[in-house]
Amino acid sequence: MKVILLFVFGMGWSVYLGGALVMAWVWRPLQKGLPPGQTGILCLKMGRIYKYLALASLGLVALSWAVLGLIDHHGVLVGTNGVFEVGLSGLVRGIVGATIWLALVGFVLVMGVFLHPSSHIRAETTQGEAGREKMKEMRLKSISRMNRVLKAELATALGATLIMAMSSATVIPGGH
């Protein structure tokens, strides 16, 4: 049971982090070489799939982490033998973990629900030149905000991975 939960945790985290890294390392630079119209279509389609994929994998991470914490107080994810555990109570570790998880979910939601849709808004034909300019300005602002949020998300996720490593979180051989 614990092996399966750790497996689910590992899978969820890998899919989430790997997806975020591919978006930053593969997709972002690729956008510069594509015509703007096609970038818009791709961005819209991928953004939608990625949002659900990221939220589903973060959901799996939370579920497996919570169940592991409940059934095993001395397991690798909430263990007492890692660097991170030294001097920290279970409650503090839980709060740190939950805060990071909430921040990551927040980043995904901010990008998926607010910034991503507003980076695709188009002016109505009746809005005139001033309206179009305003929409364009809003789009550019959203894109620049999204880039900043993506960087913050990646930094948080990489920091969380470091904490997992410090907690001897997953694959330290025999690290139980």
Partner: protein, 177 residues
């Protein structure tokens, strides 16, 4: 204390490598791949080529990191005695590690096939090299190559998922095999 921090570093790199390989493959296959259908084929091909080039750099980086960080983990946690001598084949822990190494070799071989056999065939389609009557033959070869890339990528995904399961079994117990 030094070995503790070496194990933290090794664990960090191992986790990153798994995430990049597995999560990256999932994103490429299920996010970038399906989205390409919504743009013109020629543009989709250029995009596919460029994204695959960048992703292959990540794939090879993580494949190189697996054995390095894995060895560091094994030695920094003083677990090498668990796999020394015939224990590598006679204990569950040793056999599980052997299984992971074997599956890593499968991923490397598949990576080599994609990088050096199938990708050049796909690139040939993009350049239209040969011209005239060769174009249709090239297109057919490239179509076949694309299908094989897709099949091998899915096999790699399955293998990577199983490696994660083996890793979890080693972290939380004595292995699986």
């Amino acid at each position: 204390m030094t070995s503790t921090w070496v194990s933290v570093l090794a664990s960090y790199l191992h986790l990153l490598a798994v995430a990049v390989y597995l999560g990256g493959s999932v994103a490429m296959e299920f996010v970038l791949g399906p989205a390409q259908k919504f743009i013109p084929p020629a543009q989709a091909q250029v995009m596919g080529q460029k994204s695959a080039d960048r992703f292959l750099a990540l794939v090879w980086g993580s494949l190189a990191l697996f054995p390095i960080s894995g060895m560091l983990l094994l030695f920094s946690t003083s677990n090498q005695s668990n796999v020394s001598g015939d224990k590598f084949f006679t204990t569950t822990y040793g056999r599980t590690l052997f299984g992971m190494i074997f599956l890593w070799c499968v991923l490397v071989v598949n990576g080599l096939i994609i990088t050096f056999v199938l990708r050049p065939r796909l690139n040939q389609k993009a350049s239209g090299k040969g011209g005239g009557s060769n174009v249709s033959a090239n297109l057919e070869r490239a179509g076949k190559a694309a299908r094989w890339v897709s099949i091998i990528t899915r096999i790699d995904l399955g293998v990577a998922v199983f490696i994660v399961l083996l890793g979890a079994s080693m972290a939380y117990g004595n292995g699986l095999i």
